[in-house]
C-alpha cells in the first residue's frame, strides 16, 4: 500500500505519503480560499521537494475535507432544493423541512411535494404509487428552475422501489436533474433520513465543483492514481461516487484524526483525545474505527440519523480563556489569535496554553510572560483541565477494561499523564498531520441497515452481509479484501414473521479502478 493522504482543514492543508506502516513524507500549506489551490500546492511540495520529483507508484490519493460541513454550519454555498416525499396518506401533518431551523430552511427549502405511495415494513405497498402526481411535480420542478431534488419514500431502506420510480419519472421530464434518493443515505426513521437527503441535495453543486477541482489538481500533478474522498466512518469512496454524497464527509475531519493517531501509534483499540485551539474531540476507537453514533446527530441544527462517528466535543483547547476571578475555564477561546493574545506571546489574555507553560507541561512562546500568574491559579486551572478530560473520556469509553489514550492535536499537552480507566497516555509522533495520515490509510466500506422478515436470523444476517459486500465493491473496494467489521441485529416488537433489523458493515482495501 502506497498512498497520498490530504487533509483540507479550515486553516491548513496537509499532505502525507504513506507506505505500509511508514509516513515517508509530509508537507503543510495554508488552505486557500478556492480550497484546491492548497491541494495543488501540497502535491507540488510533496512531489518536487520531499520526493525530488520521483513519485513512484501511488495506489490512491485520499482527500478529507470539512468543506461541506462548514457550508451547512455557516449557511453558505447551499442551493435551493425540491422535496418529493412518497407516503401519503401517511405523514401529511409533518411535511419535509418541518423541523429545520428557520434560517437554514429559508436558504434551502424550494418546492415541496407529498404524493401517495410508499411501503409497509413487510414490503406490501402502503397504497398505489401515484405516478401521475409525481409527473406533475416533476414538471413543476422543471419549470421552477430548481435542479436538485431529494426523494424520500416511506420504508425505502427496505423497499426502494418508489424512490426509483420517482427517479425514473424525474429523469424523463428533466434529464439534467440531480437526484438524492434517501435510501442511499439514511436509515429507518423517515424525517431524519429525509433531512439527510435534503442536506445532501443542498450541497450537490458545491460537492461536484469541489470534487472536480480536486480531480483537476491531482490530474495536473505528476501523481497518477485514482482519487478518493474520505467519509464519516473512516473509509473512502471513489471521487466520482462520493461527489453525489457530500453528507458522508460531514465528520471526516475528526474521524481521520482519530484513525491517523491510532495508525501512528500502532493501536486499534484506544480512546482518542484531540485537543485543538477551541475544542477537544473525544472518541473511542474500536478495531481502528470510531464507534458509530446510534442516535440522531444534529448538523447545523438539523436532526439526522445516518453513518456518523460518536464524538463528544467539549470547550477546552489551547486558546481557551481562563478566568480565575469568575472561576471559569472556557468555553470561549481566543482561537487563532492565540499567537497574539496569549500571555506567552506578549498578549494580555490568560489562556489554557499560558497555564500549561506556567505549570511546566508545555514549552511555548516566552515563559516570562506568565511569571505573574500565581501558583494557586495554575493549580486550580490544571485541576479543572484534568476534570474536563477525565469526565469526557469516561463518558465516551464504552468498555470497562482499561484502554490506552492517544493525545493528539496542538493542545495535547492539556491531557494529564494519568486518567482513571486509562492504561497509559500516549503522545503520537507526526501528530500534526494525523488527519492526512488518517485519510491516507482509509479503507472502503459498505453498510446495510434493513428489516428482514420471514427468514431465520442466520439467513437475515447472511443476506445483509452479501448486500453490504456488494455496496463496498461498488464504492471501490477490492472484493477479495472485504471483511465484516460490525454486525448488529434487533428483533422488532409487535412485528410478526420473526422480523429483525440487521445492520452490517464491511470494509476492504481500495481496489484498482474498474475497467
Amino acid at each position: 500500500m502506497r498512498r497520498i493522504g490530504i487533509d483540507v482543514g479550515g486553516t491548513n492543508t496537509d499532505a502525507v505519503l504513506v507506505e505500509n506502516e511508514h509516513v515517508l513524507a509530509s508537507v503543510k500549506t495554508p488552505t486557500t480560499h478556492d480550497v484546491t489551490g492548497g491541494v495543488r500546492e501540497c502535491l507540488r511540495l510533496l512531489v518536487e521537494e520531499e520526493l525530488r520529483g520521483v513519485v513512484g507508484r501511488v495506489d490512491g490519493v485520499m482527500i478529507g475535507t470539512t468543506h461541506f460541513t462548514n457550508a451547512v454550519v455557516q449557511r453558505r454555498d447551499l442551493q435551493e432544493v425540491a422535496a418529493i416525499r412518497v407516503g401519503l396518506p401517511s405523514g401529511r401533518s409533518l411535511p419535509p423541512f418541518v423541523d429545520w431551523p428557520k434560517d437554514l430552511a429559508r436558504l434551502v427549502k424550494g418546492r415541496v411535494f407529498m404524493v401517495r405511495g410508499g411501503h409497509e415494513y413487510d414490503g406490501r405497498p402502503l397504497v398505489d404509487f401515484d405516478a401521475a402526481a409525481v409527473r406533475r411535480a416533476a414538471r413543476e420542478i422543471r419549470d421552477s428552475g430548481i435542479r436538485s431534488v431529494a426523494v424520500t419514500a416511506v420504508f425505502s431502506p427496505l423497499t426502494p422501489e418508489c424512490e426509483h420510480a420517482v427517479a425514473e419519472i424525474m429523469l424523463d421530464e428533466m434529464p439534467d436533474v440531480v437526484l438524492t434518493l434517501s435510501h442511499d443515505l439514511g436509515r429507518i426513521g423517515l424525517l431524519e433520513r429525509e433531512n439527510v437527503a435534503l442536506l445532501n441535495a443542498a450541497l450537490i453543486d458545491l460537492a461536484r465543483r469541489t470534487t472536480r477541482a480536486f480531480s483537476e489538481a491531482v490530474g495536473e500533478s505528476s501523481v497518477e492514481a485514482p482519487l478518493y474522498l474520505t467519509q464519516n466512518d473512516g473509509t473512502v469512496m471513489r471521487a466520482e461516487l462520493a461527489e453525489a454524497f457530500p453528507v458522508y464527509s460531514f465528520s471526516s475531519g475528526p474521524t481521520n484524526s482519530m484513525r491517523g493517531a491510532a495508525f501512528l501509534s500502532g493501536l486499534a483499540d484506544a480512546m482518542v483525545v484531540d485537543v485543538g485551539g477551541t475544542t477537544t474531540d473525544i472518541g473511542h476507537l474500536k478495531s481502528g474505527f470510531p464507534r458509530e453514533a446510534n442516535r440522531t446527530v444534529e448538523i447545523g441544527g438539523v436532526r439526522t440519523l445516518f453513518r456518523m462517528p460518536d464524538l463528544l466535543s467539549v470547550g477546552l483547547g489551547g486558546g481557551t480563556i481562563v478566568d480565575s476571578d469568575a472561576g471559569a475555564v472556557g468555553p470561549v477561546s481566543v482561537g487563532h489569535r492565540l499567537t497574539s493574545e496569549a500571555l506567552v506571546f506578549g498578549g494580555a489574555q490568560l489562556t489554557a496554553t499560558d497555564i500549561a507553560v506556567a505549570a511546566g507541561v508545555a514549552e511555548i512562546g516566552d515563559a516570562s510572560g506568565v511569571r505573574e500568574v500565581d501558583a494557586a491559579t495554575v493549580a486550580w486551572a490544571m485541576a479543572r483541565f484534568r476534570e474536563i478530560v477525565e469526565e469526557s473520556v469516561d463518558r465516551m469509553k464504552a468498555d470497562s477494561r482499561p484502554l490506552p489514550l492517544l493525545a493528539v492535536g496542538g493542545g495535547a499537552f492539556l491531557v494529564p499523564e494519568r486518567v482513571p480507566g486509562i492504561s497509559e497516555v500516549l503522545h503520537v509522533s507526526h501528530a500534526a498531520v494525523a488527519n492526512a495520515v488518517g485519510a491516507a490509510i482509509a479503507q472502503v466500506s459498505g453498510e446495510v441497515d434493513q428489516v428482514f422478515s420471514g427468514m431465520s436470523r442466520g439467513d437475515a444476517v447472511a443476506r445483509a452481509e452479501a448486500l453490504a459486500r456488494e455496496r463496498a465493491v461498488e464504492a471501490g473496494a477490492d472484493a477479495s479484501s472485504v471483511d465484516v467489521v460490525d454486525v448488529e441485529d434487533l428483533p422488532l416488537a409487535y412485528l410478526p414473521g420473526d422480523a429483525r433489523r440487521v445492520r452490517v458493515r464491511v470494509v476492504g482495501e481500495a481496489g484498482p479502478p474498474k475497467a
Binding site: G87, L94, R395, P491, Y494
Partner: protein, 369 residues
Amino acid sequence: MSSSDSHAATRPLLLEELEPLATGAWILGAGGGGDPYHAYLNMRELYADGVSVSLVDPLSLADDAAVAVVSSMGAPLVGEERLKDPVMAALAVQQMEQHLGRRFDAVMSVEIGGSNAFQPLMVAAVMGLPVVDADTMGRAYPEAQHSSFAIGDLQPYPLTLADVRENAVVVSRVASWKWMERISRKVCTEVGSVAATCKAPRTGAEVKQWAILHTVTQAIRLGDTVHDARRRKADAVAAVVQHTGGVLLFSGKVVDVARRTTEGFLRGTAKVDGLDEHRGQEFRVDFQNEFTVGWVDEEVRVSVPDIICILDATTGEAIGTEALRYGQRVKVVALPAPAIQTTPKGLEHVGPRAFGYDFDFRSLFGDGA
C-alpha cells in the same frame, strides 16, 4: 408524585408546556411508550397554525359526560416511518361517535407514558374537544388489561381502530380485556402495525372513580423540572428524584443489552455496571417493552408497578428499551406507582406475577405508596 393542587376546571394548554410534556411523558414511559418527538412536533405545528387545546380537570366532569379514551397502537419502529397524524388520531374517535350515535364531550389518553401522552391532544386539536387531565396507567404498559379501567372491571368494549387508508374496524364485543388486546392487536398487525384506536367510551363518573388523575399536569411539571435543572446546570436526575419523591436506585454504565421478540413484545435484559457510590455492584433490569424488574447484585430491588426509569446521567433524558446500548452512562430511578396499581386487585393486573415473575410486589415506597 405529588398531585392535585387546586386545579382550574378548564385551562388552555400553552405552547410552552408541550416540550416539557414530551420530556416528562418520555420519562414516565418507563422505557416504553415510544419517543414523543413526532407527536410533539405535530402539536407544535398545530399551535403555529393558531390551533390550541384546553385541559379539563377530571373532577369537574359531569357524571354523564362522554369521554373518549385514545391511543396509538403498534410497533415503535413502524411509527418512525409512518408518522403520527392528528387527522388519523381523530378518525378512530369519529368512527366511535358514529358507532355510538352520540358525540364525545372530552378525550383522554390510555397512557401518559411515551408518545400516547400526545394522542388526545392531537384528537382534541382536530375535533375541538377538551383533553382530560388524566390517563389509565400513570406511565406506559404494553397491554389493555394493564389499564386502571381494566383493574376496575369496567366494560372493555366497544373499540374502534382506524388506519390511515380509511380502513376502520369496530370491535363491538369481547369476552375480556385480554381478548380485546388479542383481537385489536391482530387487526393492528394487518394494517401495518400502526393504528389509531378509541377504546371503550367512559362516563365522567367512571373517569373520576377509576382513571389516574392529573397525570398530564404531572408530566408537564416533571418535564419542567428536568428543563429547569438543565438550564441551571444542576443535576437533572436528582431534580427528577426530588420532584417525584422517587428513589435513585443505581448509577453506572450500560455493559450489556440482550433483546428478543416473543409474543409481540420486545423482551430482554440490560446490565449496568456501577459507578460512583455503586462501583463494584451490578444492576440488571428486565424489560417487556417497558422495564419490569430490577436487581442489584441478584437481589430484587424494584418491580412493576413501581415505575423504573433509565435516564441519561447528564441530561436526565429518558432512554427507551430500544435505544439502550453499551457504554451509555445512566442513572436508574424508581418512581412510585399510582395507588390503584398497588391494591390487591391492581397487582393482579400489573404486579410482578402478571408479567410472569414468581414473587410478590414489595413497594420501595412503603405500603400502598
